[in-house]
């Protein structure tokens, strides 16, 4: 009876691990989409409002959900206080917490923050291009992950179950 209970627990654990991994993958895709949306919002503010980047953040905060809405309000406020810090520096600092809470890879975070190294353009088209390049990088990763998602999901959950069975066989 105890053996059966142990086998059941091992199987459940391994399947659970597979499901957790699938959720992580699903979460990463969703997070990439929300980062892409943030960049789209900023692009719209630049394109139609010709607003400065800190002002874009303050406006965009109204359309964002937690934790990014608060971060964007803080970016706008800190830039308005004018402590002398550069926009890129403030943006990275304030977004760090929100980005860390998402199931993202370091590369995704860097792709998102890439535009902060490319500010100071005289032409709004150039600034838009910098935002679009960050967006394209995120879009590329998201599309690749989405394509792999359905295949990988089944495989991951299956692998979890199989590895559980393997463990049971070895232990028994």
């Amino acid at each position: 009876m105890l053996k059966l209970l142990g086998c059941g627990m091992i199987l459940c654990g391994c399947v659970g691990l597979g499901l957790w991994y699938r959720d992580q993958m699903d979460g990463r895709i969703k997070a990439l989409r929300s980062l892409k949306n943030i960049l789209e919002l900023l692009s719209s503010e630049v394109r139609y409002g010709r607003a400065a980047l800190p002002e874009c953040c303050t406006h965009a905060a109204r359309y964002l959900s937690t934790p990014f809405d608060e971060a964007f309000v803080k970016i706008g406020r800190r830039m308005e206080e004018n402590t002398g810090a550069a926009f890129g520096e403030v943006f990275r600092e304030e977004m760090a917490e929100g980005l860390a809470s998402l199931p993202l890879k370091e590369k995704d975070r860097e792709d998102f923050l890439q535009f902060t190294n490319r500010t100071g353009y005289m032409d709004s088209q150039m600034q838009l291009r910098a935002l679009e390049q960050s967006m394209e990088l995120l879009k590329g990763t998201e599309e690749k992950l989405s394509q792999e998602y359905s295949q990988k999901c089944r495989m991951i959950v299956g692998l979890g179950a199989m590895s559980g069975l393997l463990l049971i066989i070895i232990l028994c």
């Binding site: 630049v46 010709r50 607003a51 400065a52 980047l53 800190p54 002002e55 830039m79 004018n82 402590t83 002398g84 810090a85 550069a86 926009f87 890129g88 500010t119 100071g120 353009y121 005289m122 032409d123 709004s124 150039m126 600034q127």
Partner: protein
């Protein structure tokens, strides 16, 4: 007060500018040119800054601005978004928090039709420090009223005699109300952001509680816009310069608005020649003309033409 010019600089340059910022009250201008010593105008005299930000009278060992430094300062002034200040850069200056004006010069980028698109490779910055002098119009204010009614007034003055400073203070006192008359709704068309020193549309100078400022708008268009949208009792403009502006001003006067305006000129004859005015024309539009000038280096009111003096 010290903070407001320090805020023009990114954090890494603030230590360098700290001493200059302490003297903000005495500073009129900061001129920065790539590869040239940084020049400050303090109480009318030129001074330089040493490498550690201290004042020096000699250009030997003075701090020279680098291209990177100028770029970073301009980026900071533009909130790291110069594209958002495209129009201002085209005009050649940006008004910043505190009402200071940052003039820029560099390489012009032209459109195919030859019009100016923007500036690039900015190599010169000229920071003009704003000083609002409250009370600058105290001496003339009683002359502007007749039985509690405001007279339409034209201030004639050569450059540097304080006509803008006087107009700014008149606007504030007329808007808030004073010992001679009640507060009035004042519409200001501030084409070059000199009167209100607006930054992002917000006046940085105290323009009074009943003042509406239309910033960066051509004066002739702006006056008509204000007439339609804000129904001002008084319309104020600085540096009347074209026949179109004069026409808009006459239109405002015909609508019953009182007029406050300034114009470049040495005297009344100078203005009449420039605009081709007849006596009846200006008499119909203005009740009071003030001619400013300099005597022994001091700004003074040289002449006063008061059309309704006998009635008051």
């Amino acid at each position: 007060m010290e903070q407001s010019i320090l805020q023009l600089f990114p954090s890494e340059y603030r230590m360098f500018w700290r001493q200059a910022a302490r003297e903000q009250e005495h500073l009129q201008e900061i001129r920065m040119r790539v590869g040239r010593p940084v020049l400050l105008c303090r109480d009318g005299n030129e001074i330089f800054l040493t490498e550690d930000g201290k004042f020096t009278g000699s250009c030997q060992g003075a701090h020279c601005a680098s291209e990177r430094e100028l770029g970073e300062i301009l980026d900071h002034i533009c909130h790291y978004s110069p594209y958002a200040f495209e129009e201002e850069l085209r005009r050649g200056f940006i008004t910043v928090t505190g009402g200071h004006r940052v003039g820029v010069a560099g390489q012009a980028v032209l459109e195919t039709d030859g019009t100016l698109r923007t500036l690039k490779n900015i190599s010169c910055l000229n920071i003009r420090i704003a000083h609002q002098r409250k009370g600058a119009a105290d001496r003339v204010l009683p002359r502007l009223y007749c039985n509690g009614m405001l007279k339409s007034t034209l201030i004639i003055s050569p450059p540097g005699c304080g006509k803008t400073t006087m107009l700014r203070d008149l606007i504030r006192q007329i808007s808030d109300g004073n010992a001679y008359g009640r507060g009035m709704n004042v519409g200001v068309v501030d084409e070059r952001s000199e009167l209100a020193g607006s930054f992002m549309g917000r006046p940085q100078n105290d323009m009074g509680m009943r003042t509406d400022v239309l910033d960066g708008c051509p004066k002739d268009t702006g006056m008509l816009m204000l007439l339609r949208s804000m129904s001002p009792q008084v319309i104020a403009i600085d540096e009347l310069g074209s026949q179109e502006e004069l026409r808009a001003l006459r239109c405002a006067a015909a609508c019953g608005c009182r007029i406050l305006a300034t114009v470049h000129g040495e005297d009344m004859g100078d203005v009449e020649r420039r605009f081709g005015w007849s006596d009846s024309l200006w008499e119909g539009m203005f009740d009071l003309l003030l001619v400013l000038g300099k005597e022994k280096g001091k700004c003074v009111i040289k002449q006063v033409y008061d059309r309704g003096e006998a009635e008051c």
